[in-house]
């Protein structure tokens, strides 16, 4: 009754192909942007920034990146943790080598470095598909973590083998290091996430996105209609790794501050981001947000309920939390294998007709 497209006429193809064709969706989008940019920064504190908002923003970037590769281009990857590590170590090397360059460019450049590495590990995708490609990217994951552990040049020969983010400012405000305020962290990640989401949306609705989806749905037919499989797959790996590298750079420099590669960027991280993409919905930008929110917020929420409301001991709660999250993931996949994005789509279709059944 309230959510509908009747009377919302389109008079140009531009208007018809916009990101949110339905007026209420557009209003919702701008309301969300308003809240994210104009309300949250005034109420955010250290706890909310570190436990909820900053990890959500960073994982949303990583999930968008992986979704481009797995959801849009259909190339399974288990190397996300490794590629995030490339982003983190690239930004570390850039920050220490060129302290005078603004930090924003370091992050973008780190994405570029990761894109190159991603292309390199993406080249086998021309020959191997499906599970076999997953295993090949798994090799990338282990190799990259091993490399950053074994070659001291990457961690500037520090005694601990860790990398620690130096203090860097943008426009006179600390973005990394101990003095950084919650608002600065939040806003910096939010701006980057906004840019990443816009670029991802633009790419997936145009020619490049159609090439990726054509390769995903039927690679032989895609080649027959003129898609060069090599360039399509390589661009998917490049764009995806670019975003994942940015996420890795932010995770290390803005969120963690210091990182040890095996711990911060191990195989667990690959699975975490892959779960986000699958639970959120393959082939959907909104799904990447939903998946990241689900897997970041759920543990925090459960912890607050179990410890805060029920007064259970922290260690019991921590174990239970893992079990509940696991069970919920399975439940979700049984109820809706296409993820939260599909649930959202179904809800919208129902809302369009509400309160009538047909």
């Amino acid at each position: 009754m309230f959510y509908r497209e009747a009377g919302d006429f389109k008079t140009s193809y531009r208007a018809d192909s916009q990101t949110f064709p339905i007026r209420l969706d557009r209003m919702g989008f701008w309301a969300a942007m308003l809240i994210a940019y104009a309300v949250v920064p005034f109420v955010i504190d250290d706890y909310w920034a570190n436990a909820v908002f900053v990890p959500f923003l960073i994982y949303a970037i990583a999930a968008i990146g992986l979704n481009i590769l797995v959801g849009f281009a259909g190339q399974v990857s288990l190397g996300t943790g490794g590629f995030m590590a490339v982003g983190a170590y690239a930004v570390y090397k850039l920050m220490t080598a060129f302290p005078e360059v603004p930090f924003f460019f370091h992050v973008i450049l780190a994405g570029g470095v990761t894109a190159c590495v991603g292309v390199l590990f993406g080249l086998p995708s021309l020959r191997i598909k499906g599970f076999y490609l997953a295993v090949a990217t798994l090799a990338a994951q282990f190799f990259l973590v091993w490399l950053f552990n074994k070659v001291p040049w990457f961690y500037n020969y520090s005694a601990s083998g860790q990398i620690t983010a130096p203090d860097r400012t943008m426009l006179g405000i600390y973005i990394t290091g101990a003095q950084t305020s919650a608002v600065a962290k939040y806003l910096f990640c939010l701006v980057i996430l906004t840019l990443v989401a816009l670029v991802a949306r633009n790419l997936t609705r145009g020619t490049v996105g159609r090439k990726w989806m054509a390769i995903r749905d039927m690679d032989i037919a895609a080649e027959i209609i003129g898609v060069n499989p090599l360039t399509a797959k390589v661009t998917a790996f490049a764009v995806s790794s670019f975003f994942i590298g940015i996420a890795g750079a932010l995770l290390f420099s803005v969120y963690l501050g210091a990182a040890e590669v095996g711990e911060a960027f191990g195989i667990n991280k690959s699975f975490l981001v892959l779960f986000m993409v699958i639970i959120g919905g393959l082939g959907s930008i909104f799904g990447s947000f939903a998946g990241a929110a689900f897997l970041v917020l759920l543990p925090v929420f459960l912890k607050n309920v179990l410890v805060g409301a029920f007064g259970w001991p922290t260690d019991v709660a921590a174990h239970l939390e893992l079990m509940i999250v696991g069970a919920l993931i399975i439940l979700f996949l049984i109820v809706e294998p296409h993820g939260l994005a599909q649930l959202w789509r179904i809800a919208k279709e129902k809302l369009r007709l509400w309160p009538f059944p047909h």
Binding site: T207, V208, R210, M213, A214, R216, D217, M218, A222, I225
Partner: protein, 272 residues
């Protein structure tokens, strides 16, 4: 059919142009199996050319040679007066050869509109960066191509399903969407692999009408494989008949119909 160099006039008075594609002594082997044996024929501009033959005659293999999916073991493919070197299928598509498949090969996860838009990929030029920012060229190009695609959607009468995911469509409509995708490429040669397989009489009639309309409206050269003899005889200007990988007949439908080899291949012949 006196003047084969300059083209000819069909029974219904359409003027057919010169040779667009010529296949010279094509042989295709898979190990010890000979799928196509020493076949030559030509395709002329603006005509509807049919390839017929019993099951396993090598018709689809022939179509795959034309579309570049198979590289012939021997023989040459000449296209627009030039010899076509061995190419990847996507390169052949860029030369202007589009096709449909016997078992529909659409992209199920995408909408009808997006599927047809993929047909125009070879014509779209904007780069990655311009698309990432969606300013200027990329957006204008998208609109311009959308307009062309909408014309094809109107032409094939599938306006009401343009936003529907292809996976949800019934078989007959999928076939039509696949034709739309091939047409969207504005092909020089349109290859149709059994466009009417598995359809009921009404759907077949619709499809026949579309094939004739396409040829009439855009002058598209069409090569089709079909089993329904009535359809083939009505639609096509010239027919190639294949049997066991060899060519046993070539000419206008009425000529082929009376060819003794063709009759033997279809009805069987007494061996003694």
């Amino acid at each position: 059919m006196k003047d084969m160099i300059e083209g000819y006039t069909t029974a219904d008075g359409r003027q057919i142009g010169g040779v667009l594609m010529e296949l010279k002594n094509i042989t295709l082997r898979f190990g010890g199996v000979v799928a196509i044996k020493d076949i030559s024929f030509d395709i002329r501009e603006g005509e509807i050319r049919a390839i017929i033959g019993p099951n396993g005659a090598g018709k689809s293999s022939m179509l795959n040679v034309i579309s570049g999916f198979y590289v012939p073991t021997e023989g040459e493919v000449w296209f627009r007066g030039e010899r076509r070197p061995a190419m990847r299928p996507y390169q052949v598509a860029r030369l202007g050869i589009a096709r449909t498949f016997q078992n529909i090969a659409l992209f199920d996860g995408m909408s009808v509109l997006d599927n047809i838009m993929t047909g125009r990929l070879t014509l779209m030029k904007s780069g990655l960066l311009s698309q990432a920012l969606w300013m200027g060229k990329a957006a204008e190009e998208e609109d311009a191509h959308r307009e062309k695609v909408e014309k094809i959607i109107d032409f094939l009468e599938i306006q009401n399903i343009r936003k529907t995911p292809v996976g949800r469509l019934p078989y007959g409509l999928k076939k039509r969407v696949e034709l739309a995708r091939a047409l969207a490429a504005e092909p020089k040669i349109l290859l149709l692999d059994e466009p009417m397989a598995g359809m009921n009489v009404e759907e077949k009639e619709d499809m026949c009408r579309f094939i004739l309309d396409v040829n009439d409206e855009f002058g598209t050269t069409t090569v089709l494989i079909e089993h329904d003899m009535g359809v083939v005889m009505d639609l096509s200007d010239r027919v190639v008949v294949m049997d066991y990988g060899r060519k046993i007949g070539d000419g206008p439908p009425e000529e082929v119909r009376n060819n003794q080899d063709v009759i033997d291949a279809y009805l069987g012949v007494a061996h003694d």
